[in-house]
Subunit: 113 residues, 4 copies
């Protein structure tokens, strides 16, 4: 393994730590109940959807071609991920393990024809 | 670096590959326009919020104590992450880099007192 | 004015009264904080969107042709309206006056070319 | 029946007509597929929830006491109602009848103890 792999290791945990430190430095932890974080996740998911709401399916595939639109998409994706990771932190959920387990279940639920 | 670090490396990319293979095997890629994935992300965020909607802030912090409720939380977190990662795949967005950049901006926007 | 008009009068207020009586009879008023009702509105809006999430724009216009799908649409529209009206009741907002005022503002904001 | 009742009659239908005329004058009808309207409804429901996301249950009950906050609440309620009514128009759904029927079903589903 090289330096690149090392740099990529544990990046989710590092982001969770960074988000926790950010909130702690501003005394925002008091607002970060699981319920509030789940609400904030919905708000940000709505802001992400707002970018696409009036677009045809075809146009929705071109949003990254315009730099202003691309920046907005990345910003909203970051916000969704931020609240999802903070929710995982306060609940003690490992999001990657949860997703791996979910795909396992879906492979049984939706067998390939 | 040891085996553990190696196993943790690139886990996001591995999940994105697994999700893409899952969709391809079922010919579901045709449905995965950015717009549809952003809509699906909202639907799953709503299902996650449903778990908390009538709970007090205090009760919302106990959802992992009941195994049935904990399983439901993990299931919905997995669904939100699945659609977020699939959206990142089709748009070519690196979610972890996007979040790092967003925290950088927020540190300037909300300076610690 | 005839009986038909009379029967249509104040139907929003009558529905708000009916929803309030339904909640009171089950002692559910304690859960109906504005915040919880706004969360429930998001959850139901997500369930409504779920019906359309994978449909093309064209197919989304045919959902009422299938009786099962039509019933589901009506059910989710009813849920969204129920929480919107209950939110208006607890906040003392007149939803129809709010919408009339909003259209007035939008007519100034988006003048016809 | 008096003038007041008359003025209140058919107000929902009048708002639906007003929204349809507003969209037609701007050639926006082309964007108003059921799917897009359901997405827009989610976006606006998210903006309404944003007002409450960090508030305690108690504080969420005071949002109408501040005039700026009250105006924002009324604005977002209007937006949610606007998209719900436009969705009902394009689908041919009577929202008040749908809600009455839903309350009927809920009375059977959740009998009073």
């Amino acid at each position: 393994m090289g330096v690149t792999d090392s740099a990529h290791s544990h990046r989710i945990a590092a982001l969770q730590d960074r988000l926790a430190a950010f909130a702690a430095a501003r005394d925002w932890g008091q607002y970060h109940t699981p319920k509030n974080l789940a609400a904030a996740l919905n708000v940000e998911a709505g802001e992400l959807l707002e970018i696409f709401q009036w677009l045809t399916p075809e146009l929705s595939a071109t949003v990254m071609e315009d730099s202003e639109s691309a920046a907005r998409v990345e910003d909203e994706i970051a916000d969704v991920l931020a609240y999802l990771l903070q929710l995982c932190t306060v609940l003690g959920v490992d999001p990657l393990a949860a997703l791996d387990a979910k795909i396992d279940r879906n492979e049984e639920r939706f067998p390939v024809q």
